[in-house]
């Protein structure tokens, strides 16, 4: 397994090696040492490889990821998994602001807490947070699922489109046009699958509440024409 030590080589070398990985290469697992909070660790990877980052990372780790399974054995700075397309990014510690922002696909798992704006403008990504999420999470969320095992801060799901939000703990407040919705059988099924994908056991889907769009804000209503 190739080991890439950021104390010895540059970030550009690391990302160059990961981004030029081709199908059929014998190297399918990489270990990254001494990230020391550096930005953009393992961004833009497009290969079915496993990447273990030993330590805490700075901004945008795993951004734009496709196919790769990236695990941060530490905490992550702002924008972890930003705009990821597929694959899995797992953070063993906490994540800073806007984790998984604008993500199109794949799975982002945060074992600790995520701070503000988690899943902002998410477009199909699934995000599972074992701890809490901060204020304005799922702001303008368009598609995908945000699962929170802890609590959610102020203005959850503000101006939300069609993403689904599942929260097990308390929600400080819901944002504009975000409402609680019934957990129908298909939601229990989907949530069970998400928990399973994230490796979470011993948590029942009945412990969660579902939130989503009331669809009064983003759908054009002719009666409101004067207000535009």
């Amino acid at each position: 397994m190739p080991t890439l030590d950021l104390a010895l080589s540059s970030l550009r070398d690391l990302n160059g090696a990961l981004q030029t990985h081709t199908d059929g290469s014998n190297d399918t697992a990489f270990e990254v040492l001494n990230p020391r909070g550096q930005h953009a660790v393992a961004v833009g990877v497009n290969a079915p490889v496993t990447i273990d980052v030993r330590g805490s990372v700075g901004y945008y780790c795993g951004g734009m990821n496709q196919q790769a399974r990236i695990t941060v054995h530490g905490s992550a700075g702002p924008g972890v998994g930003e705009n990821m397309m597929s694959g899995t990014v797992t953070v063993r510690g906490d994540a800073s602001q806007y984790a998984g922002a604008t993500g199109r696909g794949g799975l982002l798992v945060i074992d600790g807490n995520a701070s503000s704006r988690c899943g902002i403008s998410m477009k199909g990504i699934d995000i599972v947070v074992r701890g809490n999420v901060g204020h304005m999470s799922a702001f303008m969320a368009q598609a995908g699922n945000l699962v929170v095992l802890g609590n959610a801060g102020e203005a959850l799901g503000d101006s939300i489109y069609e993403a689904r939000l599942f929260v097990r703990g308390d929600v400080t407040s819901l944002g504009a046009d975000c409402i609680e919705k019934d957990m129908r059988p298909e939601h229990h099924e989907a949530l069970a699958r998400l928990l399973d994908d994230a490796g979470i056991t011993g948590v029942a889907t009945t412990e969660f509440r579902r939130y989503g769009s009331a669809r009064r804000l983003y759908t054009f209503n002719i009666d409101n024409a004067d207000a535009y």
Binding site: R36, G37, Q38, S56, V57, G58, Y59, S75, G77, P78, G93, D94, S96, Q97, S115, S116, G134, H135
Partner: protein, 303 residues
């Protein structure tokens, strides 16, 4: 103005006195990691040993070779006794008995038009200058300084000139200093209010208004924690503040909390960084409690 979308902040508050000789070197390393966040200018405040009844007045001049000897002579002539002046590049610390403060202020304002007072206190010394943060730190030999706590700032100026006086920290009260990442939107009005209350400012910078606001609240009898809590009602805009007093160290983020912040705490110290890179080199960081400070929540440590 000081509307600063990037900028880097570092802060280190020591609980373990054995680390005090290393305060400067640790702070210097933290500051160096934040060069990319603010390559235009840098500044830092170091709280060093205090001598009972004595004040340290940090002054700055663009022409130190001429200004500082002239200041020493003028102060001695007015005060009647020689005073110690420790020069460090463009800055100098004037050590005077507390009752000589008025004399030094008068001398500076009347005889030394090119000298600026950067900070006054029993413990605080403030250094700030234009240039790459690593160069600024080495110019003032930050790594050799010792003390109990230090706060540093690297600036990326976007809306006002890159000048020494526009660099942080800002000090508007004895032993007080503030660094700021963000921008205040009601600082013009607040400046007028504070003017009426007798506060004066040296720059047009929004961050100096924030510093002045806290100094004003503390003059009214609030402690630093209470002053910061009050600021949440009265300051509008984006901010992450790190604030020092003679014995205290505090952190506050605005309710929106866009501006980055990471805190770390061990039995030996509390450290602040705009991001984790600033903390990565600290001793024992692997086992420290590391977390992102909550919005609109005052974090305070004091002895």
């Amino acid at each position: 103005m000081g509307a600063l979308p990037m900028c880097g902040i570092v802060g280190l508050y020591l609980k373990d006195t054995k680390l005090e000789p290393q305060l400067g070197s640790l702070t210097s390393e933290m500051l160096a990691t934040m060069c990319e966040r603010g390559p235009d200018s840098a500044g830092f405040a170091v709280y060093g040993a205090a001598v009972e009844g004595e004040l340290k007045i940090t002054v700055q001049s663009a022409d130190p070779a001429a200004d500082f000897p002239a200041l020493a002579m003028a102060v001695e002539a007015e005060y009647g006794r020689p005073v110690r002046i420790d020069e460090r590049a463009t800055h100098a610390v004037v050590h005077v008995p507390a009752d000589a403060l008025g004399t030094v202020k008068n001398v500076v304002s009347q005889h030394c038009p090119t000298i600026r007072i950067m900070g006054i206190g029993e413990a605080i010394e403030i250094y700030k200058e234009v240039g790459l943060p690593t160069a600024v730190a080495s110019r003032f030999a930050l790594s050799e300084m010792s003390g109990t706590h230090a706060i540093g700032h690297t600036r990326m100026a976007t809306e006002s000139a890159v000048t020494t006086s526009g660099a942080h920290p800002f000090s508007t009260g004895l032993d007080q200093c503030l660094v700021h990442n963000g921008s205040l939107s009601n600082h013009h009005n607040l400046r007028r209010v504070l003017h009426r209350e007798g506060m004066s400012f040296q720059t047009d910078n929004d961050s100096e208004v924030a510093a002045g606001y806290l100094s004003w609240r503390m003059q009214q009898g609030l402690n630093l924690q209470q002053a910061l809590e009050k600021s949440l009602d009265d300051l509008d805009g984006f901010f992450t503040f790190v604030v020092g007093t003679k014995t205290g160290f505090a952190v506050l983020r605005d309710p929106i909390a866009c501006k980055p912040a990471v805190l770390a705490e061990t039995d030996s110290y509390v450290a602040f960084g705009s991001e984790y890179r600033a903390l990565a080199g600290l001793p024992g960081i692997e086992d420290a409690k590391v977390w992102e400070p909550e919005p609109a929540t005052v974090y305070f440590w004091g002895r």
